[in-house]
Amino acid sequence: MSPIISVSNLTKSYASGFTALKGIDLDINRGEIFALLGPNGAGKTTMISIICGIANATSGKVMVDGHDIARDYRAARSLIGLVPQELHTDAFESVWATVSFSRGLFGKPKNPALIEKILKDLSLWDKKDNKIITLSGGMKRRVMIAKALSHEPQILFLDEPTAGVDVELRKGMWEVVRTLRAAGVTVILTTHYIEEAEEMADRIGVINKGEIILIEEKTKLMEQLGKKQLKLYLQGKVTEIPASLAHYNLELAADGHQLIYSYDTKSERTGITSLLGDLRESGIRFSDLDTTQSSLEDIFVSLVRK
């Protein structure tokens, strides 16, 4: 199937002369949840702003479901809902009015039942008549999500949707995103909570300094880069790894009270059995053990550091 968004060789230089995007190529698949990760200033918001029509590209091309965003902006934009990173809301309008306004702006006929459902899904129903200025930050964020959903977009951009949203509501928001995905909506989200990407995304892209440095399916990514560690809590203190164990990938930790063994989950033999045998032979005893798998966060940090 053709990608729903196709970005090719996109560059952006701001008036200040700063180049925020350096030739981005990116395809977003229809119906997927795509998480865009990257440190502050990587260019995530800039890229989203260009695709949505808020900023002009310096060069390059973006197609949204076959429509060029510059030439065929009407068709392209009517498919897209955007929740920007910054909290930009009206102040004196009611929640209901501002959300209904968005639907009208996108050229859709009135549909109070739909708006009611969206507000209920986002736990905003009891606030529908409140002025936006009286809402908390997390509520305003949800109002912005409601605005983006009000016109039934096929593609939803969520630029750090859960920043400043409490844990319970964050879970609720994930639920909304999953429901959307089930309905066939493509979701592109940025986040600094890696657990969120890990939990939600089908594919992950990492952008750094205006360049995409990795695009991969989440599961593959975790498999490929996923290292597992076996941690042994030693009974006594070990100052040096004995020569007989040198061929294992071992590390001493916690001032000689822990031994960490890193192994690859993909290889058929993990080497754990023989390691444990060799340990006993060299007289090293342990009281407890656990294993950990490196998270997306570790992967991300190691990628961006390079």
Binding site: Y14, G53, H88, K108
Partner: protein, 253 residues
Amino acid sequence: MNFRAVRAIYLFEMARTWRTVLQSIVSPVISTSLYFVVFGAAIGSRITSIEGVSYGTFIVPGLVMLSVLTQSISNASFGIYFPKFTGTIYELLSAPVSYVEVVLGYVGAAATKSILLGLIILATAGLFVPLHILHPWWMLTFLVLTAVTFSLFGFIIGIWADGFEKLQAIPLLVVTPLTFLGGSFYSVSMLPSGWRTVTLLNPVVYLISGFRWSFYEISDVSVGWSIGVTCMFLVICMFVVWWIFKTGYKLKN
């Protein structure tokens, strides 16, 4: 054409108007009444009449224009400046709307408000002096044309301004002087001939003259000139708006 978007913007802007309806109507009505007390009653009693019309009656069209002009500019400039200021403009930029629709919505709402205001002021004036309008349709034409043109002008100012000072600078430093020197309170023919020529460079003179003609058939310049100059200004404003949206000037970075 995305008519629903035009409607949405228009109604949203009008809702803003109704929320502040008291201050947006009461204050111009009060200031107009003050003008009548000061100029009409106090000073006007010393001036017998201008071209056969009593002074109080003479200044009515000018006063209406004064309010329509300044209100059009301030409504429209504020209407578009505010989303820029709060950041909600992102939605407008990301929506499937052309600039024509955006302008129709914002300028339409601003113009509607100032036309209503102009009519209210006219009615207020009617309480102080007897009014007779010889050409009501021309009167309405001038009113609408002026409201639309200056709302468009205000829209441009609102986009150009990147601070509240700038937003107020143009109306205060340019428009108010031009309106006061534009023959609201006097006939250009009362000026010495040198000044008369200078005055003719002021576009507001043409507006007020044409508007006053529709009331009393007295004018400083011919009606054709009045309409011509107003339409010219309208076309210039339209061109600037077109250019703004084409280049994304001050809207997109």
